[in-house]
C-alpha cells in the first residue's frame, strides 16, 4: 500500500475500546476514511465513523492483545495505492502489501502484524524512454514516457490526474527508480513514475462509450452463447462446488485482455497458491509470453482480516483503472463479491448500524452499483481508449439466487452466467445453465463476430439456442412418457441437442487443448453439429428410421473435436463422413 508521505500530520488519539476488527479512539483528529496506525504495534486501519470526540476505526490486521490506552496515529491521507511499474507479476494482500515482501520482512510463513511495505519496489530501476520532448506542453493524463515493464506490457508513464500540466523543461531517457524525477515542468512540478490514488475514488475519464468488441474468453459456452463485451460487466453466481472459481481462473488465463487483475476476495488459500504456481508457467495464447506478465494478483484469503477483505476489491479496480488510462483493455475478476458484501455486513454489525435485508447494511446496493459502474469502455483524459471489464463471482447462501447480493448484482450487470449444481453433479463443466443465463451484449457484439469469425454466426447461434430450448421442453415430456413415445423428428432433435451439450457446451478446463477454444473453433463445432442435424433431417424426410440416423459411426466423433489441435482437417473429414454415411441410408 501507499506509504503516507503527506506532511499534513494531525493530532494522535488514544484507544477507547476494542472489539474484534473495530476500534474506537478518542481525541483523534482525522477525516472520514483516513488511514491511521493503531496501537503500539502500529496496525493499519481506516476511519469509518466519527461521532463527537470518538472516532471508529476498522483495522486491517488482527487485534488480539491490543488494549485501551494505546495510541492511534493519523496519517492525514485516505487509503491509497501506489501506481507505477512493478505491479504486474505481483501478488498483493487486500491493502496492496506485496505478499512476497511481507514473507521476507516477517521471516515467517505466517502473516505477522504491524509490518508495512510499499506496493511497488522503490529501489528497483526501470528503463525510461521519453515520449515527449522539451518544450512540449503536457496535460494531466498525458503519456510522457514508456517503461518496458514485462515482455508483454509497456508501462506508460503518465502525468498524474491531479497535476496542473505545463511545458516540459527537462526530460531524458535512462534508468530511474520510481521515486526519481523523470520529467520537470515549467511550473516547477516534478513528475515521477510512481503516483498515488485513493482506492475509493474513481479515476477521471472523458467519456464512457458503448462497448462493441467482445472479451474473447476461449470458453465455448461464453463466447458462443453469452458473450461479454470489453468494458462490460458479468456476474457468475452459483452454489459451492458449481465451478465459480474454475470459471474465473479460465477467464483470467484465456481472456484476450491486455491486463488481468485477479482479486481473490475471502477465498481459499490453496486456490490462490494454485494461481501463484500455475500462472507463471502458462503461456498467453495471444502473445506467447508468460501469463503472469500481464497479471496482477490480489489475495485476501478467508482467514485474513475482514476489513482488508472489504477494501481489496477497491484496490483491484483502482489498479485496473490505472492501466485503462494507458489505453489497455483490462479484465478484473473478483472472486467472490459475496465475501466482500459479508465483510461489509460484519463491520456494519460491529458498528451496530440498523441492518437492511438479511443483516446486510442498507448501503449494500449503492456500494455494489458504484463498484460495477467503474467498469466500462472509456475515452481517457489523454485521448486514448481503454476498458475495464468486471466479472464478479457471487456465492449465494444455499445456491438461492433470491438473496440480496445476487439480486442487487443482477440489477447492475448485463451478463449473467448462472452456474448450476445439477450440471456440476453430472460433471457437465463449465456448469453454466444455458436456459437461465443471458447476455445483453449479444446484439451489439454480433457485428464483430460477423466480421471476424463467420458471416452466419448469429443465425447458427440462434439455431443452437432454438434446439436447446426445444430440448428443454421435450425433456419434460420425456420425463412423463419416455423417449420412445415421441415422434421421430423430436427424437432426432433430442439427439442433436445432446451433441450440442456434450460436444459444444462442455469443455474440459484440464485438457491442454480443450481448455482454450478460439472463436473460429467454437463456430466450427457448432456448425458441424448443424451439418449433422441438416443431413439427418433430410434423411428422416426420405423415410430413414431415426435409430439408424443416430446410430451412424461418425456421430460420436463430434465429441472428440474439442481435444483436436488441428481441428479444421478433423472437422472437414468428419462432416464428409457424416454426410456420406447418412446418404447411404436412402
Amino acid at each position: 500500500m501507499s506509504q503516507a508521505t503527506e506532511s499534513d500530520v494531525r493530532k494522535d488519539g488514544i484507544i477507547e475500546s476494542v472489539s474484534g476488527p473495530v476500534v474506537a479512539a478518542r481525541d483523534l483528529d482525522a477525516r472520514m476514511n483516513d488511514v491511521v496506525y493503531v496501537g503500539s504495534e502500529g496496525l493499519m486501519g481506516e476511519v469509518i465513523e466519527i461521532e463527537g470526540n470518538v472516532t471508529t476505526i476498522q483495522v486491517y490486521e488482527e487485534t488480539s492483545g491490543v488494549s485501551p490506552g494505546e495510541p492511534v496515529e493519523g496519517t492525514g491521507a485516505p487509503l491509497s495505492v501506489d501506481l507505477g511499474p512493478g505491479m504486474l507479476d505481483a501478488i498483493y494482500d487486500g491493502v496492496q502489501r506485496p505478499l512476497d515482501v511481507l514473507e521476507e520482512k516477517m521471516g515467517s510463513a505466517y502473516l505477522d502484524r504491524g509490518v508495512d511495505a510499499p506496493g511497488i519496489d522503490l529501489e528497483k530501476t526501470w528503463a525510461f524512454e521519453p515520449e515527449v520532448e522539451e518544450g512540449d506542453s503536457v496535460e494531466p493524463g498525458d503519456i510522457v514516457g514508456i517503461v518496458p515493464e514485462t515482455p508483454s506490457i509497456d508501462h506508460k508513464v503518465m502525468v498524474p490526474p491531479g497535476s496542473e500540466g505545463g511545458e516540459v523543461t527537462a526530460i531524458e531517457s535512462g534508468n530511474f527508480t520510481v521515486e526519481e524525477t523523470v520529467v520537470e515542468l515549467d511550473s516547477g512540478e516534478e513528475i515521477r513514475m510512481r503516483q498515488e490514488w485513493p482506492v475509493r475514488q474513481q479515476r477521471p475519464s472523458v467519456d464512457k462509450e458503448t462497448p462493441t468488441e467482445p472479451l474473447i474468453s476461449g470458453q465455448r459456452v461464453l463466447d458462443g452463447l453469452f458473450p461479454i463485451a470489453k468494458g462490460g460487466t458479468a456476474a457468475i453466481p452459483g452454489p459451492f462446488g458449481s465451478g465459480k472459481t474454475v470459471t474465473q481462473h479460465q477467464l483470467a488465463k484465456w481472456a484476450d485482455a491486455d491486463i488481468v487483475v485477479y482479486v481473490g476476495c475471502g477465498e481459499r488459500g490453496n486456490e490462490m497458491t494454485e494461481v501463484i504456481e500455475d500462472f507463471p508457467e502458462l503461456e498467453d495464447p495471444i502473445t506467447g509470453n508468460a501469463l503472469m506478465d500481464r497479471t496482477c494478483l490480489i489475495a485476501n484469503t478467508s482467514n485474513m482480516p475482514v476489513a482488508a477483505r472489504e477494501s481489496c476489491v477497491y484496490t483491484g479496480i483502482t489498479i485496473a483503472e490505472y492501466f485503462r488510462d494507458m489505453g489497455y483493455d483490462v479484465a478484473l475478476m473478483a472472486d467472490s463479491t459475496s465475501r466482500w458484501a459479508e465483510a461489509m455486513r460484519e463491520i456494519s454489525s460491529r458498528l451496530e448500524e440498523m441492518p437492511g435485508e438479511e443483516g446486510y447494511p442498507a448501503y449494500l446496493s449503492a456500494r455494489l452499483s458504484a463498484f460495477y459502474e467503474r467498469a466500462g469502455y472509456f475515452t481517457n483524459i489523454n485521448g486514448t481508449e481503454g476498458s475495464v471489464s468486471v466479472i464478479g463471482a457471487v456465492s449465494p447462501p444455499g445456491g438461492d439466487f433470491s438473496e440480496p447480493v445476487t439480486q442487487n448484482t443482477l440489477r447492475i450487470v448485463k451478463t449473467f452466467w448462472a452456474l448450476d449444481a445439477d450440471l456440476a453433479e453430472r460433471r457437465h463443466f463449465p456448469s453454466i445453465n444455458w436456459n437461465e443465463s443471458y447476455s445483453l451484449y449479444r446484439e451489439q457484439l454480433d457485428p464483430w463476430f460477423v466480421d471476424n469469425v463467420r458471416d452466419d454466426w448469429p443465425e447458427t447461434r440462434q439455431w443452437a439456442i432454438d434446439t436447446l430450448d426445444e430440448e428443454a421442453e421435450l425433456q419434460e415430456i420425456v420425463q412423463l412418457v419416455g423417449k420412445d413415445a415421441l415422434p421421430e423428428d423430436q427424437q432426432l432433435t433430442l439427439e442433436i441437442a445432446r451433441y450440442l451439450r456434450e460436444a459444444w457446451l462442455q469443455q474440459n478446463a484440464f485438457h491442454p487443448t480443450d481448455t482454450y477454444c478460439e472463436p473460429g473453433k467454437t463456430y466450427r463445432i457448432m456448425d458441424a453439429i448443424k451439418t449433422y442435424n441438416d443431413e439427418a433431417f433430410e434423411a428422416l424426410d426420405a423415410g430413414v428410421p431415426v435409430e439408424e440416423l443416430t446410430d451412424i459411426d461418425a456421430a460420436p466423433r463430434l465429441n472428440r473435436i474439442g481435444v483436436q489441435e488441428e481441428y479444421n482437417e478433423y472437422i472437414d473429414e468428419l462432416e464428409d463422413d457424416i454426410a456420406s454415411e447418412l446418404r447411404e441410408l436412402y
Binding site: I15, S17, V18, S19, G20, E62, T63, S64, G65, V66, S67, P68, G69, E70, L99, L102, E103, M106, A109, Y110, L111, R113, F240, G241, T245, G266, R268, G269, N270, E271, M272, T273, I276, A299, T301, S302, N303, V306, E342, R345, E346, S349, P355, G359, S395, P397, G398, G399, D400, A421, A424, E425, R426, R427, Q479, D484, F510, P556, N559, R560
Partner: protein, 470 residues
C-alpha cells in the same frame, strides 16, 4: 497481576468486569470463585473502564464477589512431540492420568493466517482405501475435505476407517524420510458413547500412539467448544511444520461448534445473521479450516476432515453452506444408501474434491484415473436420472442402452461403493473395478475416455478381471 472484585453483570456465558487499567483484546482471564475453583475465560470486548469476558467452563457458581485476574497474554497451547498418545479434555488438560506435559513451546491458539505466497499447492495423493473417495473424490495432503452427514448416519465409522487406513504411496514403498503420519482428533460436544467408540477403536488398532485426542463431551460447557478445535489445530501445525509429521485432523462435530458460537453471539446481544448464527461465522470458520495446508520448505502437512451433521439433512443450512464455501469440496453421507445397507453410504454425485484434478494422474495415481472418474460420474448420473423414469414407464419402455445405464448404477452402488468398513482397497483395485463396471456399457458410450485407454483397458468379452477383495 492485578485482581479485580468488580463484576457488574453475569449473563449466560458472559461476565462483565469494571477495570481501571487497560486490558488487551482476546487476553486470557482467570476467575476464582468462593470454593477455590478457577474458571478460565477470554476478553471479548475491551473498553477503558470495563471488559466483557467469555467464560469457557460456564458461569455457574460465579457471583459478584468472585475475583478476576487478567493474565496479560492471549491463550496459548503448550506443545511438544510428547503429546502423541495423550488424551485431553476440551481445554487441553490431560485426562488420561498420564504424566504432566512438559512443553517445548507455547503457541498462540489463534493461529496467524498462512501467507498465500508461502503455501505449497497440495497435490500428493492420500490413499484412504475407500473407493468412493480415492476413485471419485480423491483426498490430497493439505486439503480440507469435510464430511456432510446427518443424525443417525454412520459418519463416525467412515472417519475411523479413514484414520485407520490413510496412507500415502511413498509410505508404502518404504522410502520414508522421517515424515510420519499423525492423527489429531478434536471432539466437540459428542456423546460419551461416541467418544468411547472412537477411543476403543484407537486403542484396538494401536492408532492412539500416533494420535492426540481432545475431548469436549456433550455435557461439557458449550463455550469450551470454541477453543477445542483451536487447540487441536495448534498442535497439528506444530507437529506438521516444526516436527515434519503428516497430520490428519478430524474435527467432530462442527455443528456443535457453531451452536456454541451462536450461544455467545446471542449472549452479547449481537445482530444475528441467518438463522440466528452470528454474521462473522464465515470468518470464524475460515480461521479454522484455512489452517490446513502445506508450507513451502517444510516437510509436514495438515489435512483436515471436519465432520458436521446437517440439521434436517439440509445442505442449505448456514453451517454446511458456509463450510462448503470454505473447504475444498465435501463428502456426502446419504440416508437412502445407508438404508439400502451400502457401507460407507457415500453419495458420490454431490460429493466433490476440488484438489483432485492436480492430485491424480500419471506418476500420482494412474494415467487413466481422471477419465475413468469422469465417465463413471456421467454414467451413474444418467442411471440415477433413469431411475425416476423407470418408475413411471417401466424397464420395457427403455432402450437397451438405458437399461445398461440402470444396471450400471445398481452395480456401481453394490460393488464399487459398498465395500464395508473393514475393506482397504488400494487405488489400482479401485480403478480396475471402475473398468469392470464401465465395460458393461458399449465402447461408443465411453465418450469421456481417451480412445487409447479404452483399447488398453476395456473388457471386450464382458468378463471382469479379478479384483482383490481386500
Amino acid at each position: 497481576m492485578k485482581e479485580y472484585q468488580t463484576i457488574t453483570e453475569i449473563s449466560g456465558p458472559l461476565v462483565f468486569v469494571e477495570t481501571d487499567e487497560p486490558v488487551g483484546y482476546d487476553e486470557i482471564v482467570e476467575i476464582e470463585i468462593g470454593d477455590g475453583q478457577t474458571r478460565r475465560g477470554q476478553v471479548l470486548e475491551s473498553a477503558s473502564d470495563y471488559v466483557a469476558i467469555q467464560v469457557f467452563e460456564g458461569t455457574e457458581g460465579i457471583d459478584r464477589d468472585a475475583s478476576v485476574r487478567f493474565l496479560g497474554e492471549t491463550m496459548k497451547m503448550p506443545v511438544t512431540e510428547d503429546l502423541l498418545g495423550r488424551v485431553m479434555d476440551g481445554t487441553g488438560q490431560p485426562i488420561d492420568g498420564g504424566p504432566e506435559i512438559v512443553p517445548d513451546e507455547r503457541q498462540d491458539i489463534v493461529g496467524a493466517a498462512i501467507n498465500p505466497y508461502s503455501r505449497e499447492y497440495p497435490e500428493e495423493f492420500i490413499q484412504t482405501g475407500v473407493s468412493a473417495i480415492d476413485g471419485m473424490n480423491t483426498l490430497v495432503r493439505g486439503q480440507k475435505l469435510p464430511i456432510f452427514s446427518a443424525s443417525g448416519l454412520p459418519h463416525n465409522d467412515l472417519a475411523l476407517q479413514i484414520a485407520r487406513q490413510a496412507s500415502v504411496p511413498e509410505e508404502e514403498e518404504g522410502s520414508e524420510e522421517g515424515s510420519e503420519f499423525a492423527v489429531i482428533f478434536g471432539a466437540m460436544g459428542i456423546t460419551a458413547e461416541e467418544a468411547n467408540e472412537f477411543m476403543d477403536d484407537f486403542e484396538r488398532t494401536g492408532a492412539l500412539e500416533r494420535s492426540v485426542v481432545f475431548m469436549n463431551l456433550a455435557d461439557d460447557p458449550a463455550v469450551e467448544r470454541t477453543i477445542t478445535p483451536r487447540l487441536a489445530l495448534t498442535t497439528a501445525e506444530y507437529l506438521a511444520f516444526e516436527k515434519d509429521y503428516h497430520v490428519l485432523v478430524i474435527l467432530t462435530d462442527m455443528t456443535n461448534y457453531c451452536e456454541a458460537l451462536r450461544e455467545i453471539g446471542a449472549a452479547r446481544e449481537e445482530v444475528p445473521g441467518r438463522r440466528g448464527y452470528p454474521g462473522y461465522m464465515y470468518t470464524d470458520l475460515a480461521q479454522l479450516y484455512e489452517r490446513a495446508g502445506r508450507i513451502e520448505g517444510r516437510d509436514g502437512s495438515v489435512t483436515q476432515i471436519p465432520i458436521l451433521t446437517m440439521p434436517g439433512d439440509d445442505d442449505t443450512h448456514p453451517i454446511p453452506d458456509l463450510t462448503g464455501y470454505i473447504t475444498e469440496g465435501q463428502i456426502y453421507i446419504d440416508r437412502d444408501l445407508n438404508s439400502q445397507g451400502v457401507q460407507p453410504p457415500i453419495n458420490v454425485l454431490p460429493s466433490l474434491s476440488r484438489l483432485m484434478d492436480d492430485g491424480i494422474g500419471e506418476g500420482l495415481t494412474r494415467v487413466d484415473h481422471a477419465d475413468v472418474k469422469d465417465q463413471i460420474f456421467a454414467a451413474y448420473a444418467e442411471g440415477e436420472d433413469l431411475r425416476d423414469l423407470v418408475n413411471i414407464v417401466g424397464r420395457e419402455a427403455l432402450s437397451d442402452l438405458d437399461n445398461k445405464y440402470l444396471d450400471f448404477a445398481d452395480r456401481f452402488e453394490d460393488e464399487f461403493i459398498d465395500q464395508g468398513t473393514q475393506t482397504n482397497r488400494d487405488i489400482d483395485d479401485t480403478i480396475e473395478l471402475g473398468w469392470n463396471l464401465l465395460s458393461m456399457l458399449p465402447k461408443d458410450a465411453l465418450n469421456r475416455i481417451d480412445e487409447e485407454l479404452i483399447e488398453e483397458h476395456y473388457r471386450e468379452d464382458g468378463t471382469t478381471e479379478e479384483v482383490a477383495a481386500d
